[in-house]
């Protein structure tokens, strides 16, 4: 790929050693974006001038070793994370012209670590979707097959990494929006423990579930990015005081002593045969690295999708009440009164999926239905979380497919919301429980599409998660499989 190392770690080393300038690294990334993005639709705003100015500043440093752990590395950021001075739309017409006056904390920390924000990535509107088709700015296409979705909602971030536009992207994961697109695009995606990474500057969807996480080519890069963005933040009261370990330093070992629970019963229905085979085969690889793999039962897992769609839509209806056309965002032209302005601004600004979720969320919170839906969903959420924590008292990790299918054709599930929601069947559980999880490539289907293995850990035990995924990745090398036309080994 342009003779420049494609991982973030490789790029940082090349920059620090003087083998490459930040300017050359960024020019190569901008050239790849220019060549591929018209077809992929992965990137929205890209400010080339600002990117090259920042690169020139880094190139001018007297000692590049002091520039930080991500020095000279180009990064793309999901368009629901605020970037000062750079349009942040969240994939919505409502915010089409919104230019934030501040950076999200995760963005601020990336820049402090020497990373260069090259642009914003396309996504489902307000992160509501599993296919990146619900963007006001057009769908994202999967680099492995342009007729298929990259997953969602962080589909632009996953496609940008998979196509080699950038080595790192940030996404947000509410019910699987980092892990599922990572799986469908053949890259690594991490959802940290709830509270591990600040949500300040993340456009809110469902506040008890939203988390910011990295998408990368390798587990090592994910560990490096996570260390940069994690940690308490005075601007987000839900961040935890837990220490942030040097996860990268703990990689490289085997899995002796690691107990992995495999709820094989959940793969018996609704899972593509190629996906089930790849994940089952991954259990053998993990065992060969020294892990003890045992079959487990995961209680209440069947409730996770319906509970998620009750809780998340309730919170979304409340969070999105702020888009009223008054202080920022789209305002309708020519409304006669205040209420008409609210109703028409929102009707014109929101897309179909967002309206559907606002309506459902408003209903389940409304008088007469709150106890019947929302309160019961919260009780069920507690049971689901208890089921995961009970399983994790017996094992160190839980292994599941990330997605029941590989990438599906564009348009296939747009007319059937429930079918689309079931794309998240294996990811929403960890979200509801607030525990960390990641997706790592575990092979390809007969049709040459990537499959993701999901690993889930105890709260704040990202270390075990990353160690196991790294051992698996080193043993299999699936991360080197790339879509044709982007370099690397093709999976087809």
């Amino acid at each position: 790929m342009d003779g420049i190392p494609e991982t973030a770690g490789g790029l940082r080393t090349a920059f620090v050693d003087g083998a490459a300038t930040a300017t050359a690294i960024c020019e190569a990334a901008l050239a790849r974006i220019a060549a591929q993005n018209r077809e992929l639709g992965a990137m929205l705003a890209v400010d080339e001038r600002a990117v090259l100015c920042r690169a020139a500043v880094l190139d001018g440093l007297a000692d590049r070793r002091l520039a930080g752990p991500l020095a000279g590395v180009p990064v793309a950021v999901k368009d629901n994370l605020c970037t000062a001075g750079l349009t942040t739309t969240a994939g919505s017409r409502v915010l089409a012209n919104f230019v934030p006056p501040y950076n999200a904390t995760a963005v601020e920390r990336l820049e402090r670590a020497g990373a260069i924000i090259v642009g914003k990535t396309n996504c489902d509107e307000f992160a509501m979707g599993s296919s990146s088709e619900h963007s006001a700015f057009g769908p994202v296409r999967n680099p492995w097959d342009h007729a298929r979705t990259p997953g969602g909602s962080s589909g632009g971030s996953a496609a940008a990494v998979a196509a080699g536009l950038v080595p790192i992207a940030l996404g947000s994961d509410t019910g699987g929006s980092v892990r599922q697109p990572a799986a469908l695009c053949g890259c690594v995606g991490v959802r940290p423990t709830y509270g591990r990474v600040s949500r300040h500057g993340l456009v809110a969807f469902a506040s008890s579930l939203d988390q910011v996480g990295p998408l990368t080519m390798t587990v090592r890069d994910a560990a490096s990015v996570l260390r940069v963005i994690a940690g308490p933040d005075i601007l987000d009261a839900t961040t935890a005081a837990a220490a942030v370990p040097d996860w990268e330093a703990e990689l490289g070992g085997d899995l002796r002593g690691c107990r992995i629970g495999f709820p094989a019963h959940l793969l018996e229905r609704g899972v593509d045969a190629d996906v089930a085979a790849a994940v089952t085969s991954a259990m053998d690889v993990l065992a060969s690295r020294g892990a003890e793999v045992r079959k487990i039962t995961l209680a209440h897992a069947d409730l996770a999708v319906p509970v998620y769609y009750l809780v998340a839509t309730a919170e979304a209806s409340s969070n999105l009440a702020r888009y009223d056309g008054v202080r920022y965002g789209h305002r309708t032209a020519g409304a006669d009164g205040l209420r008409e302005m609210y109703e028409r601004s929102r009707a014109e600004g929101f897309g179909a999926e967002v309206k559907r979720r606002i309506i459902l969320g408003t209903f389940v919170l409304s008088a007469g239905y709150y106890d019947a839906y929302y309160v019961k969903a919260q009780r069920a959420r507690a049971r689901i979380a208890a089921g995961y924590l009970s399983a994790l008292a017996e094992v160190d990790l839980i292994a599941l497919p990330t997605s029941p299918t590989a990438a599906f054709p564009l348009g296939e599930r747009l007319g059937d919301p429930v079918a689309m929601y079931l794309s998240d069947v294996f990811t929403v559980g960890a979200s509801l429980a607030g525990i960390p999880a990641l997706s790592v490539p575990c092979g390809v289907t007969g049709g040459g599409l990537p499959v993701g293995l999901q690993l889930i850990a105890r709260p704040f035990d990202e270390a075990t998660l990353l160690r196991a995924a790294d051992a698996y990745e080193r043993d299999t090398g699936f991360w080197q499989l790339r879509p044709s036309g982007t370099g690397g080994r093709s999976g087809a």
Partner: protein, 98 residues
């Protein structure tokens, strides 16, 4: 929990959500929400079980001191407002009382 609502009150809920829907949108969402409510109905059966006595988990409350601290300048905070009243730092909206 009602398992299914063919008579989902779409107009009332849209009004609560401050969303003006077209007749075709009302028809579409009415049918789709009924389908979704049927799907999520299984939650009721699970938590209606007699052994269930647990409430929703409560997250710990994290507090910080109530102090005035530096913040965004008013100009920056208002820069994205659709209609401001010149230098007055006010946002203009349509009439509230007819």
């Amino acid at each position: 929990m009602p398992a299914e609502r063919e008579d989902f009150p779409i107009a009332r809920v849209a009004a609560l959500a401050r969303l003006r829907l077209s007749p075709s949108e009302e028809a579409l969402y009415q049918a789709q929400i009924a389908q979704i409510l049927k799907f999520v109905g299984q939650v009721a059966a699970a938590v209606d079980a007699p052994e269930d006595s647990r409430g929703a988990d409560r997250a710990p409350v994290i507090e910080r001191s109530d102090e005035v601290k530096p913040s965004l300048p008013a100009e920056a905070a208002l820069a994205n407002a659709p209609d401001t009243a010149g230098a007055t730092r006010l946002i203009r909206v349509p009439k509230v009382i007819g």
